[in-house]
Symmetry: C2
Subunit: 421 residues, 2 copies
């Protein structure tokens, strides 16, 4: 059978040019998050299929790469369903595996536990330009911190990292699932309809207030008066000078006042750091897709990029699914692949690389002379330089042009005839 | 369905303590190999099943985690064999995917092309202590370098990296597939028996010369005279002052003299660097399992560890399997997991970590005071310190003990009552 040179459908090879930027971004991420006390952890890329199909992953559960059973446990001929032939799957995100990890290892972890994960995930999405079926995610999460210190630290760690990568004028949009619910309750929607109402609300960016209104009516969630009241509240917040204060007054009786106090504290604490690379804004239309969120939610919006460049929130009820006991949890994921793409497109240059020198050795140089060349190269490397030792190609000019493009700034040519040197 | 807290069978969660060492090792590897002009690349973890079962992977092909087809392509009920339901698999090594990568991207890569890969591979091996079904490999490979410069650079890059990780007194064992074959031909074995003869020879470490002799006779490869002649040659080399010179004389007519000259050059060039952390030794009993090797082969032996800690060799015929045109190729893989294990067992401490300070904030500290604390933490981080901001636990002493164990050397306690500070 002929071997295929192409990667599998929807996945890609990563060439040196992109890898240099990826490695640089990973370096900045690890160093910056480290300064906030986040420690790296890793889980296997494969998870038990039951964990991946436990309704924690929403629509991603439809996109799992499933792994065949092996040995005696597998009987394809006798099987009639998928379930009978698979026992694992590739993870579609880092959150479900992290919660399993925490549940499994909590006794050996500090409280609070601040985790950093950088790893690949897989989703069998329809292949499309710029979106791949294997991609890297980068998440930070805090377990065991019930107070808003978790949200504050996650937002500061994320914004500090993104700023260090050179991004400016980005936004952190902030909302709270409890505010979302209180607003819907205040307008008169039934609690059983909330999730569907929020799916429509989430389209505000694309279809505007009128579009949301039309879709809510079409779906039959309440009458024109109720839907109008709901959308009017968003207008009112937008027009008010202090949206949080405005809402606090409006939602009295529908929302615990502590929620708004804590929410205001997140905003005030982040602003107190006087960071000037981003803006933190309250956005009552922010929904975030996953139904597991229980409190504050947030998203990164970049002027260079239409969609979201990351997001997260509080999910206090997920550990309980594994252990029976809930543990406060809150996380923030940055869109690693989008950030790399934006840097590549901007012609980003990595700062501070070592001096790069290429030794080009003519064919036939051997013995004693080769020994001298090799020993010299080792000395220079020990002194911090990057030394490439390569045979001189027949087309030396082309070889040097290629190396110059790779950043080699100096060439040493070694010939058989010592007089040529 | 109850969710499982355990990782899938044979794979493991990696806790912060081990991750710190893994990240440190990866950092040293990337920096050191970078000094030799190796550039990072990555391939997807999933490969087409046809590529993984093309006989390049030896016994590893029996251990593949296979991936189920999706959507309309899958019909479990109608299928009677594994082949009908799978289209991909998790890679079992980094070599087959690298050769596919090179074949796919050669036009956009320099010549020679020096690749560094650090990535996970998967093998459904019988689970056993210290061996996992997902583990990290770290390979360097050079494509397009026909001369021994490839072997020399690979050996120097690898030994420099391992030395920088603190290892001393290790050995690089060196042999050549062509020497192996010439010795067997010289003794009188049929070429069709070579692979089987080498499998027996490979056991020399464990069963000794007598054991090898007995097994060769038992398997019926030649008579006592022939097998005795073969094993006698190994004795002779061991006893001679210069094994390479001794062999060169003995194998005249069976081996191209250029092979020995080039082999001697590898040894001389590496010795010329006067590295004192390791010894390069010619070992005519070194076999290396994979049948794809075509020239020099090498292996790392560590005194701290019984088995091999890495190895590699030249494989000039594999690119041709993908493209029809052979390209010189040579690689060296280090045993990443074994190195991490040896460092963990030795109580290795990572050098040069930043000052780590924990701010413990009493429950209820909020508003203005919280803003001040957060702003101060951000300032300290910008100045290079690692600052953890956490709520003070009820058992403050236990919390501080835990943090001390994590390396926090200083504590700042922030109370609601400002007089307590």
């Amino acid at each position: 059978m002929a071997l295929s040179k192409k990667p599998v459908t929807g996945m890609k090879d990563i060439l040196p040019e992109e890898m240099r930027i990826r490695d640089y971004v990973i370096g900045v991420i690890k160093e910056t998050y480290g300064k906030f006390g986040f420690t790296s952890i890793e889980t296997p890329c494969v998870e038990n299929i039951a964990n991946l199909t436990s309704k924690q992953g929403g629509d991603n559960e439809k996109l799992i790469f499933k792994i065949l059973k092996r040995g005696e446990k597998l009987n394809v001929a006798a099987a009639s369903t998928e379930e009978e032939v698979v026992d694992g799957g590739l993870r579609y995100d880092l959150t479900v595996p992290l919660v399993r990890f925490y549940s499994n290892n909590a006794a050996n972890l500090p409280t609070p536990f601040k985790a950093l994960q950088i790893g690949n995930v897989w989703r069998a999405d329809r292949p499309q330009r710029g979106r791949y079926r294997q991609f890297m995610q980068c998440d930070i999460d805090i377990f065991g911190e019930a107070s808003n210190l978790a949200e504050i630290e996650l937002i500061l760690a994320t914004t500090t990292t993104i700023s260090r990568l050179g991004f400016r004028n980005f936004q952190i949009r902030l909302n709270d699932r409890r505010i979302l619910k209180a607003m819907a309750a205040w307008a008169g929607f039934a609690e059983s309809d909330f999730d569907e109402v929020f799916i429509t609300l989430d389209k505000m960016d694309k279809i505007g207030g009128d579009g949301v209104l039309a879709e809510l009516l079409e779906k039959g969630f309440g009458d024109e008066a109720q839907c109008g009241k709901y959308l009017g509240l968003f207008d009112e917040i937008r027009k008010s000078e202090d949206g949080i204060a405005c809402l606090r007054e409006k939602l009295e009786g529908f929302l615990d006042d502590d929620v708004m106090t804590s929410f205001q504290e997140i905003v005030d604490s982040v602003k107190a750091t006087k960071a000037d690379t981003f803006e933190l804004v309250f956005d009552p239309t922010l929904v975030r897709g996953m139904s597991y969120y229980t409190g504050p939610i947030f998203e990164i919006a970049m002027p260079e990029f239409g969609g979201s460049c990351g997001g997260g929130g509080r999910y206090d009820k997920m550990v309980g699914k594994f252990t029976g006991n809930d543990v406060p949890a809150c996380g923030f994921s940055i869109g690693f692949e989008r950030i790399v793409m934006l840097l590549m497109e901007s012609g980003f240059q990595i700062p501070e690389t070592p001096e790069k020198i290429a030794y080009l050795v003519e064919k036939g140089v051997g013995g004693e002379r080769l020994c001298q060349v090799i020993a010299k190269a080792q000395e220079e490397r020990a002194a911090g330089k990057q030394i490439l030792v390569a045979r001189m190609n027949k087309n030396k000019k082309f070889q040097k042009d290629q190396l110059t493009a790779e950043g080699y700034s100096d060439f040493v040519e070694i010939y058989r005839d010592p007089l040529k040197n």
